[in-house]
């Protein structure tokens, strides 16, 4: 009998080791993520998230009070009305019901619900229906399996996975409006500290807005199951003071500088299938299926947040993306070592 | 059921009389669930009206099937006459009205088939052509499937009648079948209005 339990305990211990033993490479993301505060819903820095938090605080308070009252009554009744050991076995008085009590505990919840409905509706309209001020920054977000495309139509910029927006001021806000479209299946744009999530659905135009008033980097990810690599469709929002943002815009608007020393790498890029999927402004590459690589090196991460953007990681990614992101739609490029090195050297100049 | 009451006590038999018949409750439940099923196809049809990206469009190719409709709705009347005859145990009258019901239903199916033939080969509308094609064939087709099932059951009863097996003891089950048939006709009213009136 004792040996039986021992066998089970050992089996559980062994099974428990499996997750640890199977730990894969985190491609430097653990470090990077640790330097960013967790994406807690309650840690809001933008008006939509603030509004939601105010409402949430109210609702959670009400539900907590309800819980304490009802659970308290339940606990009391379980303790008070338990059958005692020396009990005479007679049945307690049978109470069939009470109309006044039923009325009371119907009316009170109805009133609570009415209050909740009213304040909920108010927040819905505040967040969903603001007018778009003229001159507000508009970003066109196109969700793909499994990466984010960001186009700034007014500014002529196209980038991917990392969204730069200007810092807004609490007194005179400068919101950024996001127009959401999908190139394939349903996705959802979610950066918890900035706003609630809004689904990105093919054949439907949705929009949302943010006005972050604290500079920094905010982590988000796709919030609607969209296939194999839904888990790794991450995104970062980089909020910068106006001056920094303008500088970023200016840099993005330039085509990348041509560096003769990586000429061979550039030729590898332009002569293989890369050009079918990727765009690099100023070159022959104008594919739209994959992210725009014009200013690849200004991004912190690659693969929609699956790895830090370093030469080594780029090499792994280009050689076979499925090492980092098993379901990725980008095929392994099967380049020879020299071609691979040169190509990555070329990519490293795209800033 | 009549035989059973000689075995159970009189009070229980009296009590049993006050309860509804299981066949009718069953068929009403089936009608409820089938109505929910049809509603979804109707909703899809109405939702997609005007949303097809390419033609052909409803007003180009649809013409109200008046004859089919008249036949199908009349068959509801003839089946009522048939049931009345069966209740009175006039099997010959029952057989005549039952046969007419079958014939009218068959006309409806044939007419629908001819309409589909024209739509597919002449107008080039199939289920994959556009949204209109998808919603039209699925809705009308679902109804036609229910008509087919009804007709098969009616045919079965017809054959049993021809072979001399039907009598007034089968009134309850036959009545249940007639309720199904009435449901199928009622659905056609909805489908007709949706497709040929609202949708054009």
């Amino acid at each position: 009998m004792r040996r039986w339990w021992l066998t089970i305990a050992i089996a559980i211990a062994v099974a428990g080791c499996a997750p640890v033993a199977a730990l894969a490479n985190d491609w430097g993301m653990g470090d990077s993520n640790s330097r960013i505060p967790p994406s807690s819903v309650f840690d809001s820095v933008s008006t939509p998230a603030h509004e939601i938090n105010t409402l949430a605080f109210f609702v959670v308070s009400i539900t907590t009070v309800i819980f304490l009252i009802v659970a308290g009554l339940l606990t009391y009744s379980i303790v008070r009305f338990r059958a005692r050991p020396g009990d005479d076995g007679r049945e307690p008085p049978q109470v069939y019901g009470s109309n006044p009590i039923e009325f009371a505990w119907t009316t009170v919840p109805v009133i609570i619900v009415l209050v909740l409905i009213l304040i909920t509706a108010r927040t819905i309209y505040t967040v969903q229906a603001p007018a778009r001020p003229p001159g507000a920054l508009s970003v066109h977000v196109i969700a793909h399996q499994w990466w984010w495309e960001f186009r700034y139509p007014g500014l002529g910029i196209v980038t991917a996975n990392e969204l730069h927006v200007p810092l807004s001021d609490l007194q005179s806000p400068t919101p950024t409006f996001l127009d959401l479209e999908s190139a394939d299946v349903a996705h959802s744009f979610w950066v918890p500290r900035l706003a609630g999530k809004t689904d990105v659905i093919p054949n439907k135009k949705n929009s949302m807005w943010i006005d972050p008033h604290v500079a920094g980097t905010y982590l988000g990810q796709c919030g609607e199951y969209c296939g194999t690599e839904h888990a790794m469709m991450l995104l970062r929002v980089i909020v910068e003071p106006r001056a920094d943002f303008d500088r970023w815009v200016a840099a993005e608007q330039q085509p990348p500088a041509l560096d003769a020393s990586v000429g061979h790498g550039r030729r590898v890029f332009e002569s293989t299938a890369c050009v079918n999927c990727h765009t690099i402004r100023g070159t022959a590459a104008d594919g739209r299926f994959g992210p725009d690589l014009t200013h690849l090196m200004t991004r912190e991460t690659i693969g929609a947040g699956v790895a830090m953007n370093t030469r080594d990681h780029l090499k792994v990614w280009v050689s076979d993306p499925r090492v980092m992101k098993p379901g990725a739609l980008m095929p392994a490029m099967n380049l020879g070592d020299k071609d691979l090195d040169d190509l990555v050297a070329y990519l490293a100049t795209l800033r | 059921m009549a035989a059973a009451s000689s075995v159970i006590p009189a009070t229980a038999a009296r009590w049993r009389e006050t309860l509804p018949r299981r066949g009718h409750v069953g068929i009403l439940s089936l009608i409820l669930t089938e109505s929910a099923f049809f509603s979804i196809f109707v909703v899809a049809y109405i939702f997609y009206l005007g949303k097809s990206l390419t033609g052909p469009f409803p007003k180009d190719v649809l013409s109200p099937p008046i004859l089919n409709t008249v036949c199908l709705l009349s068959s509801s009347t003839t089946i009522v006459f048939a049931i009345r005859a069966l209740r009175a145990n006039s099997i010959r009258t029952f057989a005549i009205w039952w046969f007419i019901t079958f014939a009218l239903g068959l006309e409806f199916l044939t007419g629908t088939g001819l309409e589909w033939h024209r739509l597919i080969y002449h107008d080039g509308l199939t289920i994959r052509t556009n949204l209109f094609g998808s919603t039209y064939y699925s809705l009308v087709g679902l109804h036609a499937l229910h008509v087919t099932i009804g007709l098969l059951l009616i045919l079965l009863v017809l054959i049993l009648t021809m072979c001399g097996y039907m009598n007034d003891r089968h009134i309850e089950r036959t009545d249940v079948l007639s309720w199904y048939w009435h449901f199928v006709d009622a659905v056609w009213v909805v489908v007709f209005l949706t497709v040929y009136v609202i949708g054009r």
Binding site: S77, I117, P192 | R22, F47
Partner: protein, 561 residues
Amino acid sequence: MAGSIDHEIALGAVDERQSLPILGHIHEWVVTVDHKRLGIMYIAGGLFFFLVAGLQAATIRLQLAVPDTGIVPPQVFNRLLTMHGTAMVFLVGMPILTGFFNYLVPLMIGARDLAFPRLNAFGFWLWFFGALLLYFSYIGGDGLYGAGSAPDVGWFAYAPLTELPFSRGNSTDYWILSILLTSVGSTATAINIIATAFCLRCEGMTLNKMPVLVWLAIVVAFMMLVALPPLSAAQAMLLLDRFLGAHFFDTQAGGSAILWQHFFWIFGHPEVYILVIPAFAFASEIIPVFSRKVIFGYSVMVAASCAIAFISLSVWAHHMFAVGMTPAGNSFFAASTMLVGVPTGIKIFNWLGTIWGGKLRFKVPMLFNLAFLFQFLVAGLTGIMLAVAPFDWQLTDTYFVVAHFHYVLIGAIVFMIFAAIYYWFPKATGRMLSETLGKWHFWLFLIGFHLTFDTMHFAGLRGMPRRIYTYQPGRGLETLNLIESIGALVQGIAVLVFVINVLCSLRAGKAAGNDPWDAWTLEWSTTSPPPEYNFAEPPVVRSRRPLWDLKHPEDPDWKYE
């Protein structure tokens, strides 16, 4: 009462059955139309898939215990989460709960069987083959394109992910076809329950004198009739898209992905009430018996359940708050969702009213039932939080929602399934389950459940979306997920204890007798297990608790009702 006369006859019949060879035994069960046997088959089948889907959940939790593990690749993980969800709803929840209604409704109304016994058997076997078909996808799912195996589109299979370009092979088709089959089975059961409850009640049992469980069975049956067709219709449309080139959800041809969501949730939300109302039904039978008091507010309980059923048909888009509906649309569904909380709360208060002033006996069924009360309260309150649409914009599709619905599915429904099994197992088998093992089962399961699902709320609030095969370190999610996984392990051990309890008690459990719990509804008046014909003479009743009247002739219920 009729029970004692049947006793010897029943015993004799049992002896004869035991002398048949094993094949004869199996044959009896395969051809049976007896509602009791079919009920047991539904429950046994459901418990089998509970273990299978539970192992799938255990694998999921193993993978998520630590960030960036590679225990299973994403493709396998996505199949696990789809199969876990689909199986738990259609192959565990539905069959077990309808299995109980199958077993209990005729007994509780003094009938011999359901209204349509052969339809009952037909429904069961359809369910069974549908269940096999779903899991057969693991072997047979390789379609023409080599992609396939089990479905991996999530249990609600949103379009256009399920359309041909994004779901190659036949895995999605297995999802569609198996559920179409099981749904026909459920519809058959629903028709049967309604016809039985309306047409086969014993003498004196007006609708107003039926046990609460039977009322709620009727409510659930009506909901199934109305809510299952939208899913079947949507699935038929998806099948037409995938096989005949229709464009129902083909966004490239102007089709709407949102339409799928509407159709699915018009089914999906009533479905969760279809799953939870049977739990309410069990609670309404078990709490009175173990509090030694009549149910408080019988009419209100019935009315509230009808209200829940009705309102629940109008709340579906609270699953879609983030899709971009208009503010008016969002407000309407937020309002209706909060409104459905009112009759639900009333039921909790009425159970509290039943306990109040009673003499509580803490047998295992009651332990599970008491935990249900607290847990369902919490689940309802997190539901209110989710009903507040703006808050839902943060919480939807995160582990907060996963925590909420597991609180309902496990904390309320599974706990009540266990309560019901401990309560009615003696009636069905003639043997008691072990109280000691039952208490171990209860406490281990309670601890494991809370470890996992209390913690899970916070993972969602910290930004962890659902249906992800892994998460990166440094997001503040590691500790939470590890605790959740440990809790899953504890729950697994508890279920193991339960399985041992059932197997040992089937062989050597204490003899139960007709009425081990001193209860008051008709099923306790016949033998344990009941003879095939249930009652030698059809009972005659005068009140809602016929056995109370017999046991307390000086103070019968019909004086007060």
